[in-house]
């Protein structure tokens, strides 16, 4: 036992104890910033300096006691030093920082206030180290960071994730995630330890959606309850505490609607008990305008017709409807059941896409409703992931596999074999899944999220397609030449099912018929892609490009020299589509032509990104087709950069939610865009213009002469 004096008090402590601990053991508190009980002390902040009688003041948290030490923790010198230190730190601190604002307990600011520091005398640092908003759970404000290293030690020592480190030097020094990646893109698993360790507002809990979930009659879960769940086993208690409001246990009575298709939301649901029914209540039908070519006097009406009544050559056949749950809905009977252990609403929660289907409780249901930060934690948790994977494999994988036309005849045991051997891989937004030119070794099926397929060509990248849940890619590479012919990039949080090359070849050996089917599809795809590539030329003009006209394959242009602004085209379009026009006679001009606001059949169809049920798509004809199961959420309309998609309301008889078994007239919406009046063989607007001013043209061919002239100049 070593004896020493602290502030005149004689104490005895075992050897190896630090001065700080010694003081603490004896009821004397010394203010610290970089020291945490649970972490190895490093002595970087120097706030705990005490006068030990040495030449200089020493940091109490790292100085081990020596026998006969006389320690002064609050002499003039010590107090002055502390005050100066605090003042220096406060000079660079963005007061009040996020933490101080939210909870008033920024350690630095509290200490500074206690020390009586008002406005620091020193000028603020001019370099801003910035903020990092990329993580879903934690907000990073580098300007508030005092480089105390608590987060680094927390991540290393306590959680052993080793994500955090230091970077740069001087005034630019700061903490970094991995090799200075944004936090959300790093290997951080959002356990929250760093945030809990941070004394200032440098790392704060993000409050998503403004607030925690309203609980109502249900209860927020206590930390103990949360910890009981296997998924939360490894998560820091404090973090859970902070995020308590983000997960709520909900009880639903039999018959309650848990969520409605088309609504925008931000939460996911995890069923604990009970069964729920998931269905799509919008009529599974597409907008068809008919009556045109047959007789003079038939009135043109737009109506909703299903696939049986009106087969369209471009539409998908025998598909299941992909939704944001662990199971897909069959086209003919879009109803399925969800039970305990099922997670639904992932896409809505992570990416704020609209709800893809309606879920109604069939029995009394208990489910967790959670916000994104909690879902993120759960998804990063291995146990949880395993459970989700298993669910997917069990329920949806088969239908996805069967959804790939060439796999439809596989024998059940082969499917079983596949199901056990596929990999489920997650990708972050922007990550490249496969790159053009790489050797091809796997086939991918998209389970959730959106994948962009692009090909490189001299002028840039050409987007070939957007793939969503249930789509597959990579077969071309597998079949011929063994190299990827396009790049596939994740647009948002994507999860894919990867079927390895070996399994694939095994498949092909056992089922030769598949090979021919595969080859056929592959050839079709190749031919279509080549066709698209051929259309691409390379002499762009600025304005033409800047309006996105290069991207268009078909423009509706109005010759302003002839147009008398009589609205005949708009009236004709509305007449052909039951009163809702799909063309607006306003937009930007190009030369003497007005480029009307009407679908342009873009090469890079932005409208397709994000459809929660994957109903807006493009087949090889390059025309946009909206499948029958559009739920009218309007995302495609928002995405279209030209505003060419509008929603068309229909009154349909749907099940009355209040009185089951009865039907009620409700208004459902379906997205519509210019369909080139294919049912009438000529666009109505062009047909109806009395002054020969409306034309549907291929912009490259039509404006080609201008290009030629401009190029010649």
């Amino acid at each position: 036992m070593i004896e020493l004096t602290i502030d005149g008090k004689a104490i005895q402590v075992p050897p190896g104890t630090t001065v700080f601990d010694a003081a603490r053991m004896n009821g004397i508190s010394i203010p610290t910033l970089c020291h945490l009980q649970s972490q190895t002390p490093v002595g970087v902040c120097r706030l705990c300096v005490v006068d030990t009688g040495a030449r200089v003041l020493g940091a109490a948290c790292v100085r081990p006691v020596e026998p006969g030490m006389k320690v002064q923790t609050n002499s003039e010198k010590v107090l002055a030093a502390r005050k100066t230190l605090l003042e220096l730190l406060m000079a660079d601190h963005p007061s009040p920082c996020a933490r101080q604002e939210k909870s008033g307990d920024c350690e630095l600011e509290v200490l500074a206030k206690e020390a009586g520091i008002g406005t620091p005398r020193f000028p603020r640092r001019t370099i801003s180290r910035g903020q990092d908003d990329s993580s879903l759970a934690i907000a990073v404000d580098h300007d508030a960071c005092i480089l105390c290293d608590r987060c680094i030690r927390g991540c290393d020592e306590i959680k052993s994730n080793f994500v955090l480190g230091r970077m740069k030097k001087g005034y630019s020094a700061g903490i970094a995630f991995d090799l200075n990646s944004p936090m959300g893109d790093s290997t951080c698993i959002s356990c929250g330890e760093c945030m809990v360790s941070c004394p200032t507002g440098a790392l704060t809990n993000k409050s998503v959606a403004g607030t925690a979930l309203s609980t109502g009659a249900d209860s927020a879960l206590s930390v103990e309850e949360l910890h009981k769940l296997p998924v939360f086993a490894g998560v820091s208690g404090t973090f859970l505490e902070l995020n308590r409001g983000a997960i709520v246990r909900r009880r639903f009575r039999k018959g309650d609607v848990i969520c409605r298709e088309g609504d925008f939301g931000s939460t996911a649901f995890f069923i604990l008990e009970g069964k729920a029914r998931v269905s799509i209540s919008t009529p599974i039908a597409h907008v068809k305008t008919e009556g045109g070519a047959v007789g003079f006097f038939k009135r043109l009406t737009s109506s909703l017709v299903a696939r049986e009544q009106d087969k369209r050559s471009e539409e998908a056949h025998d598909r299941t409807i992909p939704i944001d749950a662990s199971v897909d809905l069959a086209y003919g009977n879009p109803v399925a059941e969800l039970g305990p252990g099922d997670l639904f609403g992932e896409m809505t929660c992570m990416n704020f896409y609209p709800r893809s289907a309606t879920v109604r409780a069939e029995t009394d249901v208990v489910a967790y409703e959670m916000l994104r930060n909690v879902l993120d934690i759960m998804q990063k948790n291995k146990t949880f992931r395993a459970q989700i994977d298993q669910n997917y494999r069990r329920r949806a994988l088969e239908s996805h596999l069967r959804g790939v036309p060439m796999f439809s005849e596989l024998s059940p045991d082969f499917i079983e074999h596949l199901k056990e051997n596929v990999e489920l891989i997650r990708y972050a937004p922007g990550q490249v899944i496969v790159r053009q030119g790489d050797p091809a070794d796997s086939l991918y099926l998209v389970r959730i999220g959106f994948v962009k397929v692009t090909e490189e060509y001299p002028g840039g990248d050409l987007v070939l397609a957007y793939l969503s849940r249930g789509d597959y890619f990579g077969e071309i590479g597998l079949l011929g030449g063994g190299f990827r012919t396009a790049s596939c990039i994740a647009l948002d949080h994507v999860e894919v099912v990867k079927i390895s090359g070996d399994d694939f070849r095994q498949m092909v050996e056992r089922f030769p018929t598949i090979r021919s089917g595969l080859e056929k599809v592959a050839n079709e795809r190749r031919a279509a892609n080549e066709q698209r590539l051929q259309m691409v030329e390379s002499v762009p003009l600025d304005q033409f490009l800047s309006q996105g006209l290069m991207e268009a394959q078909s423009l509706l242009i109005l010759d302003l020299q002839n147009c008398t602004r009589c609205d005949a085209c708009v009236n004709a379009c509305a007449d052909a589509h039951n009163g809702v026009t799909r063309l607006v006679r306003d937009g930007l001009r190009f030369e003497n032509y007005l480029v009307a606001t009407s679908c342009r059949q873009c090469r890079d169809p932005l409208c397709m990104v994000g459809c929660p049920v994957g109903s807006i798509r493009r087949r090889n004809s390059l025309e946009v087709i909206i499948e029958d199961w559009c739920i009218g959420c309007g995302l495609c309309a928002r995405n279209c950069p030209y505003g060419n998609i509008n929603l068309h309301p229909f009154e349909v008889f749907a099940d009355d939610p209040e009185t089951p078994g009865r039907k009620k007239a409700v208004v459902k919406q379906k997205a519509t865009s210019c369909d080139l009046c294919t049912h009438l063989k000529e666009p109505s607007c062009v047909y109806a213009c009395p002054h020969d001013a409306a034309h549907r043209v291929d912009p490259r061919k039509f404006f080609g002469q201008m290009f030629g002239q401009a190029a010649a100049k």
């Binding site: 996105g548 509305a574 930007l588």
Partner: protein, 458 residues
């Protein structure tokens, strides 16, 4: 911070249903589109309520029908059950008679009244038909059988109109009265009122209705009754089919009569003993007059039965009569009568008339005068309309004519000097001289039309 303009931001300013909204323009257009036709309809309805069908008239009525401007039903007769209410011939015939033009006319080709008499052309003379009304047949006239007695290709006065008939083919005046116009138009040495008389056309030729005294008339002859009938003197008038002009009695010159034109100079004296002349009558009447006259005379002068031969009076070669003869009164009368008749038959009457000896009779036969009363039976001419012109202006031949057989009626060229198409000429259309309807067959229409109060319509 520049304002950005993108297709989407531009499009989002626009209401999707803008074209369905009512705009002031559309409202105004609707108002006008409904209002103006309603106004038009209202106008017609108002006129209908006012029972004024004149709106539907395609022009004002002619002068003669102007009084019926509002009585559409006067002409527009609706046959029961038929749609058309065209002006029917029956309506015209209710007031007018339109006798047939020619019996040989093909029934099917008979035009309707309205073909030539066009109404609703304003205040014109409805009788004034266009040349085409006539030339539609006469430009190419055909007969079913036989020779066409008329010119076949008449288009108008200037085009295809034949010459006046009596001026063609050396036509000769059939009159038998010997007349030398030339002698009469020169200065005449001896006239009733003294020497050197200059006669004028008017002295002999006047229309019937003309007033005024005849300078060369003899009152006793004027008042005398004659036994010959006018049909013995005049050729029959074949122009009864022509529409009589209003200036009746002044259109044509009356036939020249002895009593009013000749008597003053051409004395019909027969004997020194008497001042009077013989009656201008048939030879029988003259003979009877002579006999009576001489009988009265010898009864009054019985001493005259003693006739003394005039020494110087006999002509050579004639056997001498005894110096004194005493005759019976009867003998004296017959002798004197014979002398007078010889004078008359051989000189006085013969000066103008054509006398023919009749077998077994001492009295000659006076040929019918055969004066032509109407030279142009198919056309009408109104001297009164031309009264401003001098006679010799159109009849220059009269001054030089020495023969009775000369036809002194002017030729067509004379008419055409004034009557030609164009505003600076006199009327030259067919109706000016010709008529279509055969007025000789005219039936009198019993007037049934009553004129209701003009302020009301039908």
């Amino acid at each position: 911070m520049a304002r950005t303009r993108t297709t989407k931001s531009v499009a989002q300013r626009i209401d999707l249903n803008y074209f369905k909204r009512a705009t002031p323009f559309k409202r105004l257009r609707l108002l006008l589109v409904v209002g103006i036709p309603l106004l038009a309809l209202g106008w017609l309805v108002w006129r209908g309520v006012m029972r004024d069908s004149r709106v539907y008239s395609s022009g004002n009525l002619s002068n003669s029908h102007a009084v019926f401007e509002r009585q559409c039903a006067a002409c527009h007769v609706q046959k029961a059950g038929e749609f058309s209410e065209q002006a029917a011939d029956s309506a015209c015939l209710a007031c007018h008679d339109g006798p047939v033009h020619h019996e040989e006319q093909v029934k099917a080709d008979v035009p309707k009244c309205a073909t030539c008499h066009v109404e609703h052309r304003g205040r014109i003379d409805i009788v004034a038909g266009s040349n085409i009304s006539c030339s539609q047949c006469h430009s190419n006239l055909k007969v079913a059988a036989g020779q066409l007695p008329y010119a076949a290709h008449i288009q108008s006065l200037e085009d295809g109109h034949p010459e006046v008939a009596v001026k063609r083919d050396n036509f000769k005046d059939p009159g038998t009265i010997l007349l030398n116009h030339n002698v009469h138009m020169k200065l005449i040495r001896r006239g009733p009122n003294g020497p050197l008389v200059q006669m004028e056309c008017w002295d002999c030729h006047r229309p019937e209705a003309a007033k005024g005294s005849w300078p060369y008339a003899d009152a006793s002859y004027v008042d005398a009754k004659v036994t010959y009938e006018s049909k013995d003197v005049l050729l029959p008038v074949k122009a009864g089919w022509l529409w009589p002009r209003h200036s009746m009695g002044r259109a044509y010159m009356a036939p020249v009569q002895f009593s009013t034109a000749c008597a003053a100079c051409h004395l019909l004296t027969f004997d020194k003993r008497f001042d009077v002349g013989v009656p201008h009558d048939k030879p029988e009447v003259v003979h009877a007059f002579l006999v009576k006259k001489f009988q009265e005379y010898i009864a009054a002068h019985p001493a005259e039965v003693r006739v003394v031969r005039e020494p110087a009076r006999d002509l050579t070669g004639k056997p001498l009569l005894p110096e004194v003869r005493v005759l019976t009164p009867a003998q004296w009368v017959s002798e004197r009568t014979a002398d007078a008749e010889q004078l008359l038959w051989r000189k006085t009457c013969k000066q103008c008339h054509a006398l023919n000896a009749v077998k077994d009779s001492s009295l000659p036969h006076v040929a019918e005068a055969r004066l032509t009363q109407r030279w142009m039976p198919h056309a009408r001419f109104d001297h009164d309309a031309h009264r401003g012109f001098s006679c010799v202006g159109c009849h220059p031949g009269a001054l030089a004519s020495k023969e009775t057989s000369d036809v002194l009626v002017p030729d067509l060229a004379n008419c055409k000097t004034c009557h030609a198409p164009g505003p600076e000429h006199a009327e030259s259309r067919c109706f000016e001289c010709h008529t279509y309807h055969d007025w000789s067959k005219r039936k009198e229409v019993k007037p049934t039309f009553t004129l209701p109060a003009l302020s009301r319509g039908k």
